[in-house]
Subunit: 353 residues, 4 copies
């Protein structure tokens, strides 16, 4: 005899890009049935009007985003603007698994939150990055198992953390002067109607944003590297928008603690860190990740090189910002939290070319 449990899931913010992506993944998940889909100003319209690529859900009608509409599901995914999830999450029962795709519950430090977001801190939830190194032989997934609240990490944060944490955790690279520059697809900016997000401005051009230490993902990266074992983290972080819809290519460098550390030891740190990870892969030497390799997949591809003249380790990490960077991480955490196999419903193969 065979019993298969099915979990019901509601999605708030279903008309946005993150909401659309979580619905795409949940529609393919064998153990989930999609329940309420909600939106704010688009309530009353069909999902097909806002997410026409989600063919199997085209006729679903968007309900207003309220605790009532979200009630009665096993899982609730909040794909809301930063600052909006705290209040609604507080009104959901404790035994419902709530996955917050926004930033509200990621930071442990209320001071960090206030510095970068300028509002009251909503609190801290278990952090949904299963591969985060939390100590010798331990990973963040252990804190996700059985959790009923999960703060899904930021997309840029995921790329930079996965690139650097093996060296930080092994004590081989210094977190004291990390520099990260990212090539970002436009979907990370959401559906906001801003002139610099217009196709005419984006096509054939590259543009930076949030330069000079102002990006809100900075304290989250620092928090992760501290979790991975670094006492004191300093990071210069610059994202740049490049003409692609999806994808993050993060180049993150850190100084070698001991300039004489042999290449093998460095490579071994990254290999050991990810040898058993289903979704984070260190590529063979000489192969460099591209974002296309990860499109639509929950895969993070990492490569590391040593620049002896500069005394720095250079890591490059590619992810799909909407999958491993957002919705895929949410499903992966959901699987862990619900006791399902971690990889259920998630693909490792990118849609390329």
């Amino acid at each position: 005899m065979f019993i298969r449990m099915t979990f019901t899931a509601a999605v708030a913010g279903a008309s946005g890009y993150a909401g659309g992506e979580i619905l795409r993944l949940l529609a393919a998940h064998p153990d989930v049935e999609i329940g309420a889909v909600t939106a704010h100003s688009n309530a009353g319209q069909t999902l097909g009007q806002h997410q026409p690529h989600l063919r199997s859900l085209a006729d679903r009608v968007l309900e207003p985003t309220t605790a009532e509409a979200l009630a009665g599901h096993d899982v609730v995914v909040l794909a809301l603007p930063h600052g909006a999830s705290g209040e609604i999450a507080a009104r959901l029962p404790d035994d419902v698994l709530v996955l917050d795709l926004g930033a509200d519950h990621r930071l442990a430090s209320a001071a960090d939150w206030e510095t970068y977001y300028g509002s009251a801190h909503a609190g801290t939830w278990p952090y949904g990055m299963p591969e985060l190194i939390t100590g010798p032989g331990t990973r963040q997934r252990e804190s996700i198992a059985g959790a009923r609240r999960v703060a899904v990490p930021g997309c840029n944060v995921t790329a930079v953390t996965l690139g650097l944490q093996p060296g930080v955790a092994a004590g081989l690279v210094s977190p004291a002067d990390v520099v990260a520059v990212l090539a970002n697809g436009y979907s990370g900016a959401g559906k906001s109607l801003k002139s610099h997000l217009l196709a005419s401005e984006a096509l054939g051009s590259a543009q930076p944003y949030a330069v000079g230490g102002t990006h809100r993902h900075i304290p989250e990266i620092a928090q992760n590297l501290r979790t991975a074992g670094a006492p004191d983290v300093t990071i210069s972080f610059t994202p740049t928008l490049v003409p692609m819809s999806r994808g993050i290519l993060a180049t993150a460098t850190a100084r070698l603690v001991d300039p004489a550390t042999p290449d093998d030891a460095i490579r071994a740190a990254w290999q050991d860190a990810y040898a058993d990870e289903p979704f984070v892969h260190l590529l063979p030497e000489g192969t460099w990740p591209t974002t296309a390799m990860t499109l639509g997949a929950n895969t993070a591809l990492v490569q590391v090189a040593v620049d002896r003249r500069a005394g720095r380790v250079v890591t490059v990490t590619a992810i799909d910002n909407l999958v491993k960077g957002t919705a895929g991480a949410a499903v992966q955490s959901m699987n862990i939290a619900l006791g399902l196999p971690e990889t259920t419903g998630l693909s490792v193969e990118g849609v390329a070319p």
Copy 2:
């Protein structure tokens, strides 16, 4: 009790774009186990060197493309250059399901083949477009059921045929002066190292090719429209390369037989044709297909409008050229041929934005 059959599948031409895409789909197919993967000049190398996005198959070694390497599988997919599949197919046992992604076995007319390809015709196989209207109430899928040889349609052909056939079959539009102009992603041109396929030439530019009635897909479109009921087909067909990797957006127009045909009757023809199709969807009035809506999916999205002043019906069809246009059509046909549910292992949701 529950028995699940698993079919083994070999893929020839596994280092190319079509080969990579069929592998991506078969890796996700619950009833298929991937066996031999073969290539020509790349034999001996790993799949990871050529298809680094196919993470679960990265360590597979490419064997030389020979009948011996392909033997012993339930299914063989030939993703070879035009003209290369006839010989190798002839050496495969009759009870093996052979799916030819190339053009060799698509045309019923040897004369057509010789005119457009300039070589000897390899023969005609059952045509792998399940939705092709073959008569009142009948579809091509009936000819695929149980077949052990399937000629998978061309990508441009699929888009134009699906756009126009409802009106042709219903006798509402004339096939006598069809005009089709397509916006095509570059992956349709394969991995050939040609200067007009370089990124520097493609980015920020649109370029036509095979203008003036020379494209080899023309006789195949005509053949399909004849199958759908048109006695005499004339088609002007112009593909244009636009800066995207995947996707075909086909604008295909045909004259109304009776200029007074009401809009409702026209719309009804398209609605009736696709109401029960799992992968071909007529969009709601006013919504126009985009290629992004179909990326990675086996979906064809169709819209139709009437231009009364021009006396023409205008259809726009979007597909992913590598999925519904190639590898997805192959899997769909494979499912039918093997008696599996037609939709097994195929997604309808596009990866957007």
Copy 3:
């Protein structure tokens, strides 16, 4: 002794894409000095805030768009939304050269205007397409010479007209069933904040718009082909947005009047039409235009082929929509109207790759 006249020019709508492009061209024009630059909601801000690529004009302050601000210049360019130029033009002196980049004064038929634009017709001005064939041996430039009001043509109209008019004027092709499908860059849609114009929606995708005979450029194309000698014009016209910022690639086909017309006679019609044109070039046989070849230039590149099976001539024309399609045509017309050499200040070389 040497005297060089300098003309002063004001630009209304200077913060938009068309306004920016006319400023880019006028800044390089040896006989023009840029005077007032005006805007509507952006008045009071600097040009550098809206057109940061116009380095030499960055500190200019945008004045409100009023007849007063525009007064006192030799030339006034109106880069305003459709429907906005009639009123302001009426308040400018008759001896000022007014170039209207909008549609308001292009159509000779008030009925056409009302059908497609739904408002009162502002009147008809000399039409600013110098190469338009107006009769045996005559061109539209003769009507522009000395004019003080010029209606600059639409961008799509320019591409389709230049592609087809040689065959129409020579009586070789029928204007009775023209079909045109265009690949369009996004800048043609202006800076409007609409969700389908966002980079995330555009990148990696192609999307049609104004399908089914609704596009406002249709009556203007028909008017031009009538001017070129066609008594009765029918046109099916479909633009499609593709992921590039600039450029139009227009595929326009028309039926041969006499299917037996030899290739040479057809080619000769196009060659004769454009042999002496400085900005419209018929490419050598076998070379097809791409939009990149025309980027930033006032060049239209045309190619023609005969599809004997389809009984159609197929033309492909590439232009930069903001130059030959808008601002370059304005400067060319300005040169003619002012008695300057027609090519002054205009480049024929595209910025490629």
Copy 4:
């Protein structure tokens, strides 16, 4: 009375991207007449076959690249692969102005050349970056005046040097741990037929190359920063290819020497450095450069910010790699060397959007 000198110029390597761009600029230069255009394997073909966007030169026939073909011109531009210019330059008369777009004569240190290029050093020529700070109040343009050999800088080098040198020369930032990550358009890679340069691989993707301190532009950047006043330079440099044809967006960071240096002092260093430069512009605070702003122009746009937490200055510089990064720098240097106004024939306005 008025006498205008005209200089004749030959271009070797005229069928490549750099060769095409120098021809585009020289065709618009009022004091230059283009003479011989030469190529290697494409000799005997027309320029129109390889540079169809250069309309005014389409009928020019490519001669073989020999000293004989290049003789008899006032200016010779070498747009040849690295390593190829030394031999041919040696055979040109001393009084001919030779502009080498390749790397052969850029480095002062033969050892650096041999380390990064692995061949014998061809020698060192005056370096063609007029804005390079060579001491208090002095610039490199002084060494170019009257020169008859000029080594044109590398494109990445130009972007990084212009971004950082004001702070280095002012002693405000340390050159000891510079990190630069660049977003690069594909034209920088030339017309080579390599699979990672195919449109299908580039579109929708970002990919790094030459990671880990191996890029040949590194010693040239270090040389420039030493010239600007830094005794000891260490640089981590990572270029990444992003889906655009042209453009470099360089994010370059360096540590503050004194963390307490006020913002004003830092900004003043950049303002002072570029206040009088015609082609290098510090943007107003809060405006960040994009590559589109510089397309087709000889402009470098620079912005600087201070990240107090990271203790780093972050600079972002945008250039068109083929203009200010290559051919425009050559024309600018040519103007200086020949005693023409430095800005002759060069545009500061980018072609945007």
